[in-house]
């Protein structure tokens, strides 16, 4: 039951293992953010599944972490 204005779930979320992969790669959020040219908070939002990145950003993140994009992002929560 929602109180107040009911928000719309108009964006499908993409699940990711970004935090695990980034920690494994021994990178901080700040370092990854600089590598992919975004604000470091944006990395946090993606890691907490609060924001689904664009395909370009997902590809850039995968490249920065030396992984394939499907190794980090998926449609199902694995």
């Amino acid at each position: 039951m929602y109180m107040g204005r009911k928000p719309k779930a108009d964006e499908e979320l993409i699940y990711n293992k970004l935090e695990q992969v980034r920690t494994k790669a021994k990178m901080t959020r700040q370092q990854l953010a600089e590598a992919v040219d975004v604000h470091y908070q944006t990395i946090g939002y993606i890691e907490r599944n609060e924001y689904s990145p664009s395909l370009v950003l997902a590809l850039r993140i995968a490249k920065a972490l030396n992984k394939k994009v499907e190794q980090i992002f998926s449609l199902e929560d694995n």
Partner: protein, 240 residues
């Protein structure tokens, strides 16, 4: 014979194109000063993007206070100024103040960057200068956050406009809806509107409408300053 001649001309054109391309590449010299300028620009943008001061007051009490303050100013002080029209300029000043506060609280102050960088790349192309990768202060999350807020503001306006029209209809035909007169669509009776506004009151009304239009997009960021749903919120919504 003609075919062969045509092929030779086509080949010559291709060779010339290749030469032009090669010459253009050679002309794209990166001057040391240009490189230095790009480095400085990159550093400034990086500072703007990562500096906590510009991160806005998202998820803070400050953001909630600014939102409440803007509501009080627009509606509360608006009503007071309407009753005391000599305060209309104070009303305008206060609206401007809460607008600036709202703008700072959601990092909206850097909204101009998109247009200027596009203009820069166009002029650069015109002068055949090699342009570097476009850097922007707002990243894609912040841009989408802004777009989402504008979308919500648009939805609110559509709703409010509908309400205002219904209100105007009811007001105009109040004698028919709430009085003793009988309403009929054939012939449609005239709606009656009668009110008088002083010059000051008219100004207050203009400031109120323009203030509302300007503030609505900031209110649409929500109290938290985040127009996106969190995962738990989204799942809750799906389950409900």
């Amino acid at each position: 014979m003609t075919n062969k001649k045509q092929k030779t001309i086509e080949q010559q054109i291709r060779d010339l194109e290749a030469q032009i391309e090669k010459l253009t590449e050679q002309a794209d010299v990166v001057w040391p000063s240009q490189e230095l300028g790009e480095k400085i620009e990159a550093k400034i943008i990086k500072w703007f993007r990562n500096e906590e001061f510009f991160a806005g007051f998202r998820n803070t009490y400050a953001r909630a206070i600014i939102t409440l303050l803007s509501i009080v100013v627009l509606f509360g002080y608006g009503y007071y100024a309407f009753m005391n029209p000599e305060l209309s300029l104070w009303y305008l000043g206060l609206i401007c103040l809460v607008l600036v506060m709202q703008a700072v609280s959601v990092r909206f102050v850097f909204n101009f960057e998109e247009k200027s960088s596009r203009a820069y790349s166009m002029s650069a192309r015109f002068f055949s200068i090699k342009t570097s990768t476009r850097r922007t202060i707002l990243d894609e999350y912040q841009l989408r956050r802004r777009d989402k807020a504008l979308q919500r503001a648009h939805e609110s306006f559509v709703g409010l406009l509908g309400l205002a029209l219904v209100g105007a209809f009811l007001y105009g035909y109040q004698e028919y809806f709430f009085g003793e007169k009988e309403f009929s669509f054939t012939p449609m009776p005239d709606a009656v509107y009668s009110f008088s506004l002083s010059g000051g009151q008219f100004l207050v009304l203009v400031f109120f409408i323009s203030g509302w239009i300007s503030l609505q997009k900031y209110w649409s960021y929500g109290i938290k300053g985040e127009p996106f749903l969190s995962r738990s919120e989204s799942e809750k919504l799906r389950d409900s």
